[in-house]
């Protein structure tokens, strides 16, 4: 396996999962498995206009890079892409993309799952709701389930 390639990007713009996978896999024949996660802005109650995503610029980049390097040390990954948007994200739009590529499928699944779990709880982003009604939105509360999700990776924070 070639030295893993890590791309971390924090941006306002939307991403293209297809372009990111193509850039990661192009000209390489060692990657048999590519697992991707796309996180979208949900709105089941039809009440949400958008989420305003705030972030801590330098730390967000560093922290995701660090999580990606931890994943590469733990699984035989050939490449990782992590893109997190900030700013105003409308209901139904993309928020985050994580890609983990490997020779074998379970490493790719585990790598992407690990990245998302740690990104959720360790990367400095915060979401605030903007409602259609114009009502003042609340900051989204952290989810205990997200902390619990880390348990499956052992003491590796």
């Amino acid at each position: 396996m070639i030295q893993p390639i890590i791309k971390v990007q924090i941006c306002r713009e939307d991403f293209s999962i297809e372009k990111e996978i193509e850039a990661l896999t192009k000209g390489r024949y060692d990657l048999g498995a590519v697992v991707s996660f796309v996180g979208l802005c949900r709105d089941e109650g039809n009440t949400l206009n958008s989420l305003e995503i705030e972030h801590y610029p330098v730390m967000a980049q560093n922290e995701i890079q660090r999580i990606a390097e931890t994943a590469c040390a733990r699984w035989p990954l050939g490449g990782i892409v992590a893109i997190h948007r900030y700013g105003n994200i409308l209901a139904g739009e993309n928020i985050v993309l994580v890609i983990a590529a490997s020779k074998h499928r379970q490493a790719a699944f585990d790598g992407a799952n690990f990245l998302m779990d740690y990104l959720k709880t360790r990367a400095p982003f915060w979401k605030k709701e903007n409602f259609k009604s114009g009502d003042r939105g609340e900051w989204v509360s952290a989810n205990d389930e997200d902390d619990d999700a880390l348990a499956k990776w052992g003491d590796n924070s």
């Binding site: 995503i53 997190h84 915060w126 900051w139």
Partner: protein, 84 residues
Amino acid sequence: MKLVYFSWIRERTGISEEDVSLPDNVKNVSDLFEWLRGRGEEFEGFLQQPEIIRVALDHVHADEPEASLSGVREIALFPPMTGG
């Protein structure tokens, strides 16, 4: 020392970032919280529950009250993260 605040802590304090001169006896995160409490009720309010406040020193998580501020240039205070 540069202090930066995010999310509802930024809103509560009304400050995004500020430069402060910390007294010499403010040596760790716990001391910082104590010092901030003395700055007014907008700090006192959320610092009554220090366990829900996360701290980063020079862009690295440092949630232990004993974490030293020695040599640090930027301290961030923020609530638990909700990205992803």
